[in-house]
Subunit: 109 residues, 4 copies
Amino acid sequence: MDMFSAKAKSCIDACLDCYATCLGMASNHCLVVGGPHVEQEHFRLMLACAEVCRTHAHLMILGSPHARHLAPECAEIATRCAESCASVGDMEACVAACRACAASCSDMG
Amino acid sequence: MDMFSAKAKSCIDACLDCYATCLGMASNHCLVVGGPHVEQEHFRLMLACAEVCRTHAHLMILGSPHARHLAPECAEIATRCAESCASVGDMEACVAACRACAASCSDMG
Amino acid sequence: MDMFSAKAKSCIDACLDCYATCLGMASNHCLVVGGPHVEQEHFRLMLACAEVCRTHAHLMILGSPHARHLAPECAEIATRCAESCASVGDMEACVAACRACAASCSDMG
Amino acid sequence: MDMFSAKAKSCIDACLDCYATCLGMASNHCLVVGGPHVEQEHFRLMLACAEVCRTHAHLMILGSPHARHLAPECAEIATRCAESCASVGDMEACVAACRACAASCSDMG
């Protein structure tokens, strides 16, 4: 993907990694462990975070100037999701992916 | 959307309705009620069904000849999701949307 | 979909209609007519608008409080897409769907 | 993403790379170069291929048993897209990403 700047490429990768980690842990970890892991506010936030990251990546891949408008919201929801995962516990991979995504998106906005 | 045949338009609508009903009930009903509603196999099937319906609609909207290849799998997963929802119970709207989608997709394959 | 308020249901429908109209006209009309219809800025805006509408609908369907954060950006990109379609011409259905979506999203923000 | 087998992880990566390469080259290369690059059959295939790859990755990330049903269609559309890109020319990155994706998906079906 030489068509992207190094910075954009890095943010696309961070967003797709956050998307895959949130969705994968929700489906393969939270639904298995249960309890606070499937509490509505937490689980819904993971699904919403995955979707916003996926779409922010999509707009950066398109090269759309509107990608910049989604960057702050992507940083915000990833930060909220990292906090929720840290609070639920046993979600280190998701906390790390969300924080890396938030940092990268904050740099793009 | 005059660009679609009546049959394609009807299947797009059935797929988008199934997508919204499965995703909406998973997030706003299953996560609230808990118990068998958030059992992994059931909940994951609802998310997977929502995604396949969304994408089958996307390919029909594109007018892609590959939409036809997804139709049988979309009918299959919607049928499985209807069965799972009927078995869990208290999911009538989702059973109905999945069955309507499966019937419409079977007609497109 | 009785799980949504009338206002949310109406905005979900407007966003999904805008998504399908933008994507469908891009693929089935712009790619056939060519010329200014496939100029990069216009065509990319149609694809980006379709994606933002699809995702705003997704977050409303999830019942996520973050849907509200996407509403102003969805209204903005739909307004820009309506302007681009009006300028290119022969895109009345897309102009109408984008304007209806923008009005509905402005009411949700 | 330790939650996936090495084989699944490799196929998720191949599908997401094919998605990003097809969508990115369609938007940032084909729309700029024009001519056969924006011919309807070719361009629509790139968009449809991107979407099928994205969704096949999504089902593998969910850990859904239905991912296996999409694998042959994902291999098929990526193969068709590679052929179309090779025929149009000056699309080497897309040909390579599509072929790698098709090979990986063929191994999953």
